[in-house]
């Protein structure tokens, strides 16, 4: 009898013990020595489907913070990063943001790549009035058209990429356009943009197919699209499916002009897992011009810091994101006030960014809370397995 009571007690003690242990394992964010640090929360996906992106972003951001702190921080105050993993899951993302806000009194949060998580983060930021800067999600749902935003992006939005693509297709003289995309937002958002706007470019959308993520074969879809006889194919899908698509097109002996708006990050992923001869001639929108020395410098810095290479636009756009955040804090005037920092974002004018063509300057405007407009976009092409910049008529 007595032993049963002990059993229950011990079971509860163990549970309690776990909770208590966490107290000490996590330790406390002890009050820092003078001067008082600026707390910035960093919620990113280190695990989960888009983990390969998150694992690149964090080192870059951390590097930028370290450099800033070494140079004296902002107004003499260093930045302290509070890092949490959101696993690419939107609900967890909101959870991490809540923790960041309540536990660490952090005034600005940086968060990763995944569009669904981005939408969750934006909704939270709008309700809780904490500014967030992000560097990767493409969804157009993140655009704030009216009033001041709380969620900012240092990359482009799907519609921006689509606009650039349509301009390029027109430039090349094609008229009939086919579309292949994911059944998820990346594909459907792009498709709706095309359906609404393609006629403005004098082009015609002759056919479209959507495919599930992780499809093992797309031959039938490829055939259906080919039968509508497009001259140019716009592709908006994840890396694994692109690889399948490229192979299936080759099997069908169909080699149209293919372009994608997914940006250089995904494009390099596509190139990594597809035999490069299948991608010959494919073009993609990108936000960097890698003939710029700044790009090479950031790529090399990343390689030195982590021992791996990521020669695509993830490091540069994360770099921009970090520095835009620092500038917003500076211009905001009060690093402890989230609203001031948010207003600081809108005060940024002509800020030198590493994305875009040489000499590009970045800013945000009411109605545009993303950094990259069609003016800052570039295009890359795969030739003989390597990326090359496309020279566009201006």
């Amino acid at each position: 009898m007595k032993s049963m009571l002990s059993m229950r007690r011990i079971s509860w003690l163990i549970t309690g013990g776990f909770i208590l242990t966490s107290f000490f394992v996590h330790g406390s964010n002890a009050a820092a020595a003078e001067p008082k640090p600026i707390n910035i929360g960093f919620s990113c996906d280190f695990s989960g489907v888009t983990a390969w992106e998150g694992n690149v972003e964090f080192p870059i951001f951390e590097m930028a913070v370290k450099e800033l702190n070494a140079a004296g921080g902002i107004n003499g105050r260093p930045i302290k990063l509070h890092v949490l993993d959101n696993g690419g899951d939107p609900s967890k993302t909101v959870g991490t943001l809540k923790v960041i806000k309540d536990a660490n009194n952090c005034v600005a949060s940086y968060y990763g790549i995944n569009s669904a998580s981005g939408i969750a983060a934006k909704a939270w930021a709008d309700t809780n009035n904490i500014p967030i800067i992000s560097c990767g999600p493409l969804s157009d749902k993140l655009i704030q058209r009216k009033g001041k935003a709380w969620f900012f992006r240092s990359n482009l939005s799907t519609s921006v990429g689509a606009e650039v693509i349509l301009g390029r297709i027109k430039e090349l003289g094609y008229k009939r356009v086919g579309f292949m995309g994911s059944t998820q937002a990346m594909g459907t958002d792009c498709l709706s943009y095309l359906q609404e706007n393609i006629s403005k470019f004098g082009l015609e959308l002759v056919g479209s197919v959507l495919c599930e993520p992780n499809s093992k074969d797309l031959t039938i879809q490829a055939k259906r699209l080919r039968d509508t006889n497009p001259e140019a194919v716009i592709y908006s899908n994840y890396a694994a499916d692109s690889s399948v698509w490229a192979r299936n097109m080759k099997t069908l002996g169909w080699q149209p002009y293919v372009t994608t708006g997914v940006g250089l990050g995904l494009f390099s992923a596509i190139r990594d897992i597809t035999p490069p001869d299948l991608l010959e001639g494919w073009e993609s929108v990108a936000q960097i011009d890698f003939t710029r020395p700044e790009i090479k410098m950031i790529w090399d810095k990343y390689a030195a810091y982590t021992g791996r290479r990521s020669d695509d636009e993830k490091p540069p756009r994360t770099w921009d994101g970090a520095h835009l955040l620092f500038e917003a804090i500076r211009l905001g005037g009060n690093p402890d006030d989230p609203t001031a920092i948010r207003d600081g974002f809108y005060k940024i004018k002509n800020f030198p960014i590493v994305s875009g063509p040489p000499g590009a300057k970045g800013s945000f405007e009411i109605g545009r809370n993303y950094l990259i407009t069609p003016k800052e976009c570039t295009m890359v092409v795969i030739k003989s397995g390597k990326f090359a910049m496309v020279q566009r008529k201006k």
Binding site: S215, T219, R224
Partner: protein, 300 residues
């Protein structure tokens, strides 16, 4: 006529090669089921592990394909054996419920996925198509050679398995163990070794299937369990305990999915698979092809 063939042939090859993947995984499942009435939820991870070893040999060790392929298969086989040693035998000795052993295989599968994922950072493990990117041309008809290889390998594997099972003493011992474990022990068959052998064979089959299909669309660490589920569906659709029925079930599944995905919106193809499964489970739980190639003695 040529146009019809040109349209139809890719669909057939796609359906058959996809279906062969599911069918082979289903076959591998059934090997284990036949020897020990156990369901192996790590089946897909056997295939994934084989792909991982092959990929590692190809990209990190720079070993040529003709060596990396067998290495991958051996890796998968050893992983199968490891599963058996680490979880099945100890649990069996303890007299655990069958479901606990099923969970045990799931645990091993998760460990494999987690380990491979941690190493690859959950990135894709790319394996190039064996014969290059150019499709074969049969009188101007392009044929995806990877798909053909998969179909060919399936045929060889099934025939090989049949021969092994029915024409060799070891195969006989394996069948006996599955048929009646206690009597087999009385007859002097080392049933524990037989179970281990079934896991080994299952690993070989999964490994071959996985590596052959990896060039089609890259594998990553967490695709093991979904593949196992598809293989499981193939077994249920085809017929429980009948390896050839499992194969047919897999091919049916592959063809149906390919057709639905191609002609209907692919949004509904995956959902349809699960609804079809529930319907089959309700109306014909013994499977669609359960009588296929069953010799009289097995009907029990």
């Amino acid at each position: 006529m040529f146009k019809f063939l040109a349209d139809f042939l890719p669909i057939i090859i796609v359906g058959l090669s996809l279906g062969s993947l599911f069918g082979l995984v289903g076959l591998a499942f059934t090997v284990i089921i036949n020897a020990s009435q156990l369901v192996n939820f790590a089946q897909g991870d056997f295939a994934m592990f084989g792909v991982a070893v092959c990929w590692f040999a190809l990209t990190v060790l720079n070993v040529p394909l003709w060596l990396a392929f067998p290495l991958g298969v051996i890796g998968a086989a050893l992983f199968g054996l490891l599963t058996e040693k680490a979880i099945i035998t100890p649990l069996q000795r303890r007299g655990a419920r069958p479901f606990t052993m099923i969970l045990g295989t799931m645990a091993i599968g998760i460990i494999a996925a987690g380990a491979v994922g941690a190493y690859t950072k959950f990135w894709w493990m790319k394996i190039n198509p064996f014969l290059g990117s150019e499709p074969w041309k049969l009188k101007k008809l392009p044929i995806d050679h990877q798909g053909v290889m998969i179909i060919f390998a399936t045929v060889v594997l099934v025939i090989g398995y049949w021969v092994f099972l029915n024409k060799t003493r070891l195969g006989l011992a394996l069948r006996a163990t599955g048929f009646n474990r206690d009597v087999s022990i009385l007859l002097g068959i080392q049933t524990a070794k037989m179970v281990g052998l079934s896991f080994l064979i299952s690993g070989v089959i999964s490994g071959i299937a996985g590596i052959l299909c990896a060039p089609l669309s890259a594998f990553n660490a967490v695709q093991g369990l979904p593949l196992a589920i598809n293989g499981f569906i193939a077994v249920i659709l085809g017929g429980w305990g009948n390896p050839y029925a499992a194969l047919l079930g897999g091919i049916t599944l592959g063809l149906v999915r390919a057709l639905l995905t191609g002609y209907l919106s692919s949004a509904y193809a995956e959902m349809a698979t699960f609804f079809v499964l529930i319907i089959v489970l309700t109306l014909r739980p013994q499977g669609l092809f359960s009588r296929f190639m069953i010799p009289e003695s097995k009907k029990n």
